[in-house]
C-alpha cells in the first residue's frame, strides 16, 4: 500500500517536472518536433536502464503479443487529442476535462478488470472519492488567482505555456 503510493508520488512529481520542461521546448519548437524529441529520449532512457538492470535479458521477448508493438501509439493519440481539445476549449477547460476522464476511466478499468488487471469491486465510496477529487481539481483550476494559469498539468499545453519567463 505505502509502497504503491510512494511509486505514484514519484511518477507524479516527475511528470510535473517533465511537463514544465516540455512546455519550454514547445515554446520554441512545434508540438510534433517536441513530441518526437520527448519520445525519442524516453526510448533511449528506457533502453539504458533496461540494459543496466537486465543486460541481454532485455531482448528476451518470449511472451510478446502483436498488439504490444502498437500500444506505444496511444501516446501519440494523447498528444493529438490534447492539442485539438486545447485548441477548441482553451487550456483550463480542456485540462479539467482530461483530468476528470483520466479518473473516471481508471475507475471503469479497475471495476471491469481491463486487460487482465485484478478487478477491484465497485463501491459507492470509490465513486464518491473520485467525484470529490474532481471537485478539488475544479476548485483548484477555476478558483480565482493564479490568473495566468501556469500549472502545466498536461504536456504540450500551448496556451498554458511559460510565456512570461523571467529574463
Amino acid at each position: 500500500m505505502i509502497l504503491g503510493l510512494l511509486f505514484a508520488i514519484i511518477a507524479g512529481a516527475l511528470v510535473a517536472l517533465q511537463n514544465i520542461f516540455n512546455s519550454k521546448v514547445n515554446e520554441r519548437a512545434g508540438s510534433w518536433a517536441t513530441t518526437t524529441l520527448v519520445l525519442g529520449l524516453g526510448f533511449l532512457a528506457s533502453l539504458t536502464f533496461g540494459l543496466l538492470f537486465e543486460g541481454k535479458q532485455l531482448f528476451h521477448l518470449e511472451n510478446m503479443k502483436l498488439w504490444y508493438w502498437f500500444s506505444g501509439l496511444i501516446g501519440v493519440g494523447v498528444v493529438v487529442c490534447l492539442v485539438q481539445g486545447i485548441k477548441r476549449l482553451g487550456p483550463t477547460y480542456a485540462i479539467v476535462i482530461a483530468l476528470t476522464s483520466q479518473l473516471l476511466i481508471a475507475l471503469l478499468g479497475d471495476t471491469l478488470g481491463w486487460l487482465g488487471l485484478a478487478k477491484v469491486p465497485f463501491t459507492f465510496n470509490q465513486l464518491l472519492g473520485v467525484l470529490v477529487i474532481v471537485g478539488g481539481i475544479i476548485v483548484f483550476k477555476f478558483g480565482g488567482s493564479f490568473e495566468k494559469q501556469k500549472v502545466f498539468t498536461l504536456p504540450f499545453v500551448k496556451g498554458n505555456k511559460v510565456s512570461e519567463v523571467q529574463k
Binding site: N19, T48, E62, Q102
Partner: protein, 141 residues
C-alpha cells in the same frame, strides 16, 4: 462539443496507457515494455513530424539544454506508474499521481523556480488540494 470529446479521449488515453503498460510489463518485463512503447511512439511521432515539419533543428538550440532532457524522465515515470498500479490498482494510483503532480507544480509555481514567474498562493488552490486529498481518503475507506 468536439473539443470536449477530444479532451475526454486524451485523458482516457493517458489512463489506458498506464493499464496497457502494466499488462505488457506482466508478460515481458517493465523495462521491455517501456523501451518498446517509447520506441514505437517515437517512430510514429517522427513519421508525423516528417509530414507536418512544424520546426527545424535550430529551434531546439534556443532552448536551455536542461529542458531538452525532460523526455528521459519517462523511463522512471513508466516504471513507477506500473509498479504503483500493480500494488494499489488504477484508480488510487492515478489519483495519487495527479495530486502529487498538481502539488509539485504548485510549489514550483509559487516559488518561481525554473524561471517561472512567481505566483501568489491563494485560498482556492489550497482548498482544491485539500479536497483532492480528502477524495483519496474516501476512495480507500
Amino acid at each position: 462539443m468536439k473539443g470536449i470529446i477530444f479532451a475526454f479521449i486524451g485523458g482516457a488515453f493517458i489512463t489506458l496507457q498506464g493499464i496497457a503498460n502494466t499488462r505488457i510489463s506482466g508478460d515481458i518485463g517493465t523495462w521491455q515494455a517501456a523501451t518498446i512503447t517509447q520506441f514505437t511512439g517515437f517512430i510514429m511521432a517522427f513519421i508525423i513530424l516528417m509530414f507536418v515539419r512544424d520546426s527545424n533543428w535550430k529551434d531546439f538550440k534556443q532552448v536551455k539544454p536542461l529542458y531538452l532532457i525532460g523526455g528521459a524522465f519517462a523511463a522512471i515515470v513508466i516504471f513507477s506508474n506500473v509498479a504503483s498500479i500493480q500494488r494499489i490498482g488504477v484508480t488510487l494510483s492515478i489519483s495519487a499521481i495527479l495530486i502529487a503532480q498538481l502539488i509539485i507544480t504548485f510549489i514550483i509555481d509559487s516559488n518561481g523556480w525554473f524561471g517561472l514567474k512567481k505566483q501568489k498562493v491563494k485560498l482556492p488552490q489550497l482548498i482544491g488540494i485539500g479536497m483532492m486529498i480528502a477524495g483519496v481518503v474516501i476512495l480507500r475507506s
